[in-house]
Symmetry: C2
Subunit: 190 residues, 2 copies
């Protein structure tokens, strides 16, 4: 009997977590504060998640997946690689600028010990939808011979971290930065 209300409560808890972690970090964010921010009782989070770690992990995976989908959504399959790269990049930018809390949550989770657990879990899960996307595999094939994680960091890491700092970016800076990321991942002689 999982109702729509129940789903929304679980979502409210996840979003409250994102908001509070963005503002106060992982230390400084208690389950009581999360519940209050979500407008539910303290026990409610435990109806949907076994523990705080479980909640954090689920939220982290959801944020990452939503980011991947948003990025992929704006890509034209028939465009050139360089154009696709720009579309992917601005897809990430606009998705995160729409709610910078997501970016702040993401960078903190990625740097924390949670990232190790999340990584393991992602490995054991079925194929990553990002890595199995033809657009992404096509782009990766054209890039320098570095491990995919490193290429991701070079390609879109800067946007994620920059949107996390809240400062809005000039149009001119954005253009220069996309160009810089593209240069990083592609070799001139190829």
């Amino acid at each position: 009997m999982t109702t729509a209300v129940a789903v929304n409560r679980a979502e409210a808890v996840r979003h409250a977590l994102i908001r509070l972690v963005a503002r106060d970090g992982f230390h400084g964010t208690s389950m009581a504060a999360i519940a209050k921010e979500a407008g539910v009782a303290t026990g409610t989070a435990y109806v949907h998640y076994a523990s705080k770690d479980d909640l954090v992990l689920a939220t982290y995976l959801e944020v990452k997946q939503a980011l991947g989908e948003a990025a992929l959504a704006g890509v034209d399959p028939d465009a050139t690689s360089r154009e696709q790269f720009g579309q992917l990049w601005t897809g990430v930018q606009h998705h995160l600028e729409a709610d910078p809390n997501r970016a702040r949550f993401l960078v903190q989770a990625d740097c924390s010990p949670y990232a190790d657990t999340a990584h393991e879990q992602a490995m054991s899960a079925p194929d990553d939808p990002l890595m199995s996307s033809p657009v992404v595999t096509g782009l990766l094939a054209q890039m320098v011979d570095l491990p995919p994680e490193v290429l991701f960091d070079l390609a879109v890491g800067p946007v994620i971290r920059l949107t996390a700092t809240q400062r809005r970016l000039d149009e001119s800076v954005v253009e220069l930065l996309i160009e810089a990321c593209w240069r990083a991942v592609t070799s001139p002689n190829s």
Copy 2:
């Protein structure tokens, strides 16, 4: 009567903080655990630092400064810009590989709300020794017209994050990555 012993105790506390944060993150690292790891009593940390925040901030600034000095130490003032860039980059790499805990501490602190406080404090402090170094200003002058923080992120961010993951890097990967970072910060038509 600040003795050598006192100085070493303060240092022991800072290093214990780095080790534990690297392993357990900021949440998950208590003052009691820090003191135990440092081999001192719980009260000792408070003789040298007013609070946990104070300790974290002092440690963060020390780690950052040591990294800057180590990076600068290996640079030949008469080398070409590209060579100097490589020397700076490997300086960071070797300094962090010598104790990857520093890298793990650094990335976590940089993503946490501590970073805001630290940034403010760095601004109000006297001139940043890195930014006033002729080598660094010389290099920055040759780079793309992006804010210095962004250029730092593009130039050495990848090494810091990569050494933080503990995995040792292949020599061939390192060469490709330095080249990628250099391409990112420099425009081909200049």
